[in-house]
Symmetry: C3
Subunit: 209 residues, 3 copies
């Protein structure tokens, strides 16, 4: 991590929207990646099951995008992500073993409840993921951030554009968006490039600090 | 805490409904406070962001109402509340550092999940807040209390009257009601005094042991 | 526990559906039990409040059904269940004190959030209950299991047949079904035997490994 930078900034630079790649993959990833870049969404998180794709993704787009690994729940997963060259790692849980495995790579840990967020912050972190943020409904977007005014909160889940808006208005610092941009609601397959573009464009205005 | 009294009773005496003051404040608080007292709701919790209001509130109504601070998530917040003269402190999380900060002032700690409630009770507490209780839906009001028959559970959140009813019927001991009495559904501004009176009156029958 | 068997298999053998008996009891339990057995549902969990019924249930059906105790949240509850002869014990929380109390009787511990599931697995368990699984909505059934691909997850709650389907499709190993089979939606009394049979039959296809 670089001096003076928050772990969130070290992870995804100026991006506020992180696009999570569906576990089932995206058929034509190179096209989708170019569309995301054109729409200004340059922070991507690959589920740890897809970590084998990272070397190619980094070779093709690693200079233009921040490429991370997400869905990591133990130290082994963190080490796997780091070994694959991930720019950053996202874990929906926390633990000193995970932090030890990350070394210099920015690792954002998380929790779901106020207690779990407090536990993340007690490790000295300035940022906590909230995962899965879609599980607790819209009211939670309003009630959680005011409890931790000094922290950066980053909701993570199947968040529509309006839900990201709610989180940001309540004080969240960024959001990890699962599926919504790259997959249709029914979860079958991936969106066509023009649909990805349309959805990415709707999130673009949020992707600024 | 006084000998033989539960921490809940030490905190709010005979009240079962604690009215949380909105973070955004209430324009004419003195009028609202008088209305609450007329309707028999004499336990109020101020978010820690409004702790600067406590000395005046205590001077005006401290002899007729129990005035606490809520939304505290760390030991510093507990100490701030105690220093301001709070009659009681409510934390949606738990931790030995919070308990140490409270000294003789009744502190109710809490959690959201069954595990977190169990963790609160393992600290020796007889009471656990459930926060935010509105996040987990109506079924949770029925399924949580039977798991902890020996404990006092106190749901906390944007709870309508019927939701408080459900919690009480399932065995909860009290409820901390956010917004509903003092604020309209759309969250804009505060309710007018007659609307506060109407809503407070609907909760009044619950405010008895 | 027997060598080579997972704790889940040691607890409920080949069953994937565990039927939870309502806390309020079932008026004519013997008839209901026969119906469940006819429909192939041979794993039952009695809330710890009904632990006094276990000796009779075990005497009548203990050779044909797996009979456990659920809703246990502390070591005393575990010991009570073991002393009553429970074939297995289900706890919605975890803790080393609970594990110590179980001795050789299969004990499945649980949690609600990803962090709590991770904590269960960190105790060395291969199985984690998810309780109450109905509190976090349908999306959670899809998002939780992929985070723990090596673990057996067992959702527990008021789960309709389609919800169990969702959990199983996402990788869950079994489900503890509260109320749905033995009680009507309005929660008043118990279902008549033919209604129990109809509901049990709808779950039967899921009850295979």
């Amino acid at each position: 991590m670089m001096g003076g930078m928050s772990v969130l900034e070290a992870a995804v630079r100026a991006n506020r929207i992180v696009v999570e790649v569906p576990r089932t993959g995206v058929e034509d990833w190179v096209v989708a990646a170019e569309v995301l870049l054109q729409e200004g969404l340059g922070a991507w998180a690959f589920p740890v099951e897809l970590v084998h794709l990272l070397p190619e993704v980094l070779a093709l787009h690693g200079h233009r995008a921040r490429v991370g690994v997400c869905g990591v729940t133990d130290a082994e997963g963190v080490r796997t992500a780091v070994a694959a060259g991930a720019h950053f790692v996202l874990a929906p849980v926390s633990g000193s073993d995970l932090l030890a495995g990350a070394g210099e790579v920015p690792l954002l840990t998380g929790g779901l409840t106020p207690q779990e967020v407090a536990d993340v912050l007690r490790t000295g972190a300035d940022t906590a993921l909230v995962a899965p943020a879609d599980a607790l409904g819209a009211a939670y977007a309003r009630s959680l951030p005011p409890l931790f005014p000094a922290a950066s909160l980053v909701p993570w889940g199947r968040l529509e554009r309006y839900q990201c808006d709610m989180w940001f208005q309540a004080g969240a610092s960024a959001a990890v968006v699962s599926e919504v941009i790259l997959r249709p609601e029914d979860g079958a397959g991936a969106n066509a490039p023009d649909e990805v573009a349309r959805r990415a464009a709707s999130f673009r205005p949020l992707n600024v600090n």
